[in-house]
Symmetry: C2
Subunit: 348 residues, 2 copies
DNA sequence: CGACGATGCTAATACGTATTAGCATCAATA
DNA sequence: TATTGATGCTAATACGTATTAGCATCGTCG
């Protein structure tokens, strides 16, 4: 049995250097305030002993005394390292890790959060939130009650993705889906499209709401703007609806649905964008094999992760105050699936 | 400025319930030893107050007092979330996260470790190792000096992948490359192959050494067994060497090299396995596009991650003692690239 | 009725660091 | 010589939990 040898503490250093523990702490923290002075000779002596013993401060004790940690918690509503091909969080985590490294912070993954009703919960018996100085929240939908409690407790956190108020505003770094979708709609209208359709997944998540809103607002310029749910329906049935409605441009929330829709169109002897323009509203979250370069936009996921950590860090160290909410612009992707409606209109 | 409202402590609970802080701690820890007794009524009262206030123990203080944490550190010599397609660590991390979740542990990623000479270092000014109860080490090569220091400090850790002694044995969960390669060699010999070649990357890592050793030992039964380095050479040049040597079966350490070799063979009007059998010694670490089903073996990476956490956890809680070293078997993969040497021998 | 064991709780302390008030010393000044 | 100010350090304490020795009370038994 390896009985852990007690580690070197400031007390040990102090004894060896013939000073008090307080002095060691002061030397270590490079304190040189007006009312704290250490003779150069003493300082050197202490530093020499520290170097000899290989002393390293106990981060736990330090946290207990100083109240912060340089640890950023990361709470994901699903495993951070998924085993399948679907990897929704990955790009966010790339950005999070990158900035954490730059800021000299460690990342604490709250893998211990137990799963209740199919989802992880932040708050539970013996929750470990306080181990971190603050926390990044990742998830398509985040429980409003949990956000509420975070707010109430005054715990520093940042959501990745815009969030509705949860008994108080929620700090976040999100993507501006509404504008991105709006721009897409405008460019379709500019090309002559008048009959538009929004194909949603029927999700109540903010990210879905924002896209719908962006569509609805910008599509007022069009002659017709229907909203359909693709949940549980196959692409052929959806395509039937679109043709019946004489839709010329479809805005598709789910990337895989767009792929399926293009395929169904082609199978029917029609073409994209000849007979139907298909616009995607984000990047694929699962690996979908397709040769098609869809027109749509790119979500700055890595940047969202980076900035979430950046803002959180500044909130923690007090250098920024007040509510932090950021919406980052999405980058337009010029593909080959947005055309003019001429042929489609003609043909019908 | 949101001045963080002081969190609820055991002292607060104690005051509200009219007991001492010690009693609260005892209730929380469900202590019921012979010399510690709490009246049922008192216990209920305390628990009620705890429920009302939503108290949660400060894990930092807990760790300071009780010396452990249910936090597993994860040290990766490269980013845990890589941005490119190469994702060497991912399968390990899947297993690590899975077992950590089952064991109710959180994972601390040591992203703060600074990069020196192109690699992260565990030990540095202000290293945070002690925040975790123990640590998992991931990396193709791990600095022996750092392992040495971990051993010296008596810090509980587990390497993923077999490691040579570093001034003392190193605990690990590894894959049995030597046996896996040995079995491949034997099955090639059983099919009649007599002239074998090992194509290595020229790496000094243990994982490379083990493969080489497995090859060398089992290949003694063959007429010829050469070892070549593919580092910095193109597949055509390597193929020239193989043909010159009348090699009939090539054992290729790096998956991408195997892909390139098969392509070069085909381009030359020869075939795999008709003219040359090509065996792979592990899974691809980068996404390599190929239609070929190579014969080789699968490395149980997820299982290695899982067991590393499992063993580490048992070491930490004292339920297992002594040196822990495990080698897991690799699973043979029956592909289409191992044939008989007849045609190859004939043709030459 | 005194001794004693069982019961239920608390006081005190440890863990290792950071912070602050303040003590001792000495030189410079009045 | 007494006073003041600067200098260099330490004692004491806080942070929030876990643990342990031990105190007070009560019933039982000899």
């Amino acid at each position: 049995m390896t009985s852990t040898p007690r580690r070197v503490t400031q007390r040990d250093i102090a004894r060896l250097a013939g000073v008090s523990q307080a002095t060691v702490s002061l030397v270590l923290n490079n304190r040189a305030d007006a009312d704290v002075r250490i003779a150069l000779e003493t300082r050197d002596r202490v530093l020499r002993v520290i170097a000899e013993t290989g002393y390293a401060a106990d981060p736990v004790a330090r946290r207990l005394a100083a109240r912060f940690n340089r640890i950023i918690g990361v709470f994901t509503y699903e495993p951070a390292f998924p085993s399948g091909t679907r990897d929704f969080f990955h790009p966010f985590l790339v950005g999070i890790e990158e900035y954490a490294e730059r800021a000299g912070c460690d990342l604490l993954l709250f893998t211990s959060a137990p799963v209740v009703d199919g989802r992880r919960r932040i708050f539970h018996q013996d929750n470990r939130l306080r181990l971190a100085d603050g926390c990044i929240l990742l998830g398509r939908e985040i429980d409003a009650a949990e956000l509420h409690r975070l707010n109430r407790d005054g715990y520093p956190y940042m959501a990745v993705g815009r969030r509705d108020d949860a008994a108080g505003p929620v700090p976040y770094v999100g993507a501006d889906y509404a504008s991105a979708v709006g721009q897409l709609v405008e460019s379709a209208v500019a090309r002559g499209h008048r009959r538009l359709a929004y194909l949603g997944m029927g999700s109540a998540a903010e990210s879905s709401e924002d896209r719908r809103r962006g569509f609805a607002e910008s599509a007022r310029a069009a002659e017709s703007a229907v909203q359909l749910s693709t949940a549980g329906r196959d692409a052929d049935a959806v395509l039937d609806d679109l043709l019946a409605d004489r839709t010329t441009a479809a805005f598709v929330e789910d990337y895989a649905t767009a792929v399926a829709l293009e395929l169904a169109t082609r199978r029917r002897g029609l073409s994209v964008p000849g007979d139907l323009s298909v616009l995607t509203l984000g990047d694929p979250t699962v690996a979908v094999p397709t040769e098609i370069a869809f027109t749509g936009f790119h979500i700055p996921r890595e940047e969202m992760g980076r900035q979430a950590v950046e803002v959180l860090a500044s909130v923690i160290d007090g250098s920024s105050s007040g509510l932090q909410q950021r919406l980052l612009p999405c980058e337009p992707v010029e593909g080959e699936t947005l055309g003019t409606p001429d042929r489609a209109v003609e043909r019908r």
